[in-house]
Amino acid sequence: MLIRHTPAIASTDITDPQVYAGRRDFIRTLALGLGAASLGLAHGAETREGRGRPLANLRSSPFSTLDDKPTPYQSMTTYGNFYEFGPDKDSPAKNAHRLRTSPWTLTVDGEVKSPKTFAIEDILKWAPLEERIYRMRCVEGWSAVVPWVGFPFSELLKRVEPTGNAKYVEFWSLADPEQMPYVRIPLLDWPYVEALRLDEARHPLSILAVGMYGEVMPKQNGAPIRLVVPWKYGFKGAKSIVRIRFVEKQPNTAWMKAGPDEYGFYSNVNPDVPHKRWSQASERRLGEFLKRKTLPFNGYADQVASLYAGMDLRKNF
């Protein structure tokens, strides 16, 4: 826009001191406004609790990946999805301090001979804790390498007896609006329920994790106990589990209800089956700038591909 400004104004006309002083206020307001906006947008999330209690005598596992460098602890505890605590990547780190992880019980029911409720202190004594360094691939296209601490899901099967009807396992997350503010908002159909086929759950790679980085599980990562299934997209790993239910029919999970054409029951990492809105062919490791190729079953094809022999994985995505 070309508007010539004429400076030919008598100085007496412009030296209203109040207004003259006001120019600084104007600039200050503008600067403050922009500064505040930039602060608000800078995701300077930090963990409120610092590092957690260390877990001793961890066994190493042959299932750990050795060639991938673990993602920094700081990244894994400040970036992630845990919708019960908010929709942004840094919401869990900001809000999960409200979670009360003690006392905590886990109820196992459904198609089992006798339903049982276990206290978390007892669960921790079930089996020697192992460190499992796994790749983690989020359905959104980012990935990480996490040293989880836990034990195989099959340890649970030793303590409850599923009936012959049990074909699937559901994992129910806590949904307490007092501790989880966003459960009041219908972002998803609460409680968060995920599920596996029984043979998937039984697979030695499937673990119930109670810690990571050699420490007790941080609240924002799903304390005190969560599921980790490394060949599936991250959202399959239900966090802060309070109930495990064995069922006969294939369950409708929280994400399947939210987007049936976007999130399938299996949700195995598959570079050849794109999400409806984006490609899954590549992924970006946290901390890295360039993408890398996504591997079928997140690189665990040798161990798990046989679970899906004869299945059309495009249909059963």
Binding site: M1, L2, I3, H5, P7, I9, D13, I14, D16, Q18, V19, Y20, G22, R23, F26, I27, L30, A31, L34, G35, A37, S38, L41, A42, H43, T71, P72, Q74, S75, M76, T78, Y79, Y83, P87, D88, K89, W142, L187, L188, A258, R277, W278, S279, R284, L286, G287, E288, F289, L290, K291
Partner: protein
């Protein structure tokens, strides 16, 4: 008494505004210097540049209403810089998309533009910004002539709507608050212009019920 800067003061304001508009870019340089882009560096860079493109676009669109309301006409003389900064951050945004997402592979970029609707819309908005940035100089305005120049630059209204669509389309259904807030701002800024246009329009005489004028009592020979 309205604040009306002389040329020297306006120059100072412009320098200050230039420095302020550079703050988001300095934030990125700082992140590069400390190596701390947060857990997901590319997401941070893309959101940061996208957000500041939109922020500066909104501030640019605020100039005309602000000027009309305060009668501070000199505000218009800040508009070009704000618009160009919006383009600057849009260019960084686009660069991070073609570089980080596609490694500058033309084939992959083209496919992505066709495949993902929010990319299509964002790309369209960026392409439309280019002629506006290119015709921002006084020389270009003179070449085009004021009226043509103004007509061309009205495409900023379309661009702002495309920016809203782009923003809505890229977020998850669970995070609609921010795109909603930006869209309300755009709706208000465009709505004000529509209202002004209506208010300033010269009333057109109503002919519907008028009888035809008769100039001759008799049919002329």
């Amino acid at each position: 008494m309205r604040f009306n800067p002389d040329n020297q003061q306006l120059g100072q304001i412009k320098i200050a505004l230039f420095a302020i508009c550079l703050i988001p870019a300095i934030r990125l340089l700082w992140a590069a210097y400390t190596g701390d882009f947060g857990p997901n560096p590319v997401e941070f860079v893309q959101r940061w540049t996208g957000t500041w493109t939109f922020n500066l676009l909104l501030i640019t669109l605020c100039i005309t209403p602000l000027r009309a309301m305060t009668q501070m006409h000199w505000l218009t003389r800040l508009r070009r810089m704000l618009g160009l900064f919006s383009f600057f951050y849009a260019a960084l945004h686009f660069l991070s998309f073609i570089g980080f997402d596609h490694d500058f592979s033309l084939d992959a970029i083209a496919r992505d533009i066709f495949k993902r609707p929010f990319v299509t819309v964002g790309f369209a908005a960026f392409v439309l910004l280019i002629p506006l940035a290119a015709t921002s100089s006084n020389w270009a305005i003179r070449q085009l002539g004021g009226r043509k120049w103004q007509e061309l630059h009205r495409s900023i209204y379309l661009i702002s709507i495309l920016a809203c669509v782009h923003y809505f389309w890229l977020v998850k259904a669970t995070a609609l608050l921010w795109p909603l807030a930006y869209s309300v701002a755009v709706a208000m800024l465009l709505g004000w212009r529509i209202r002004e246009r209506r208010r300033k329009a010269i009333p057109v005489p109503q002919f519907q019920n008028a009888k035809p004028l008769k100039f001759f009592k008799q049919k002329p020979e």
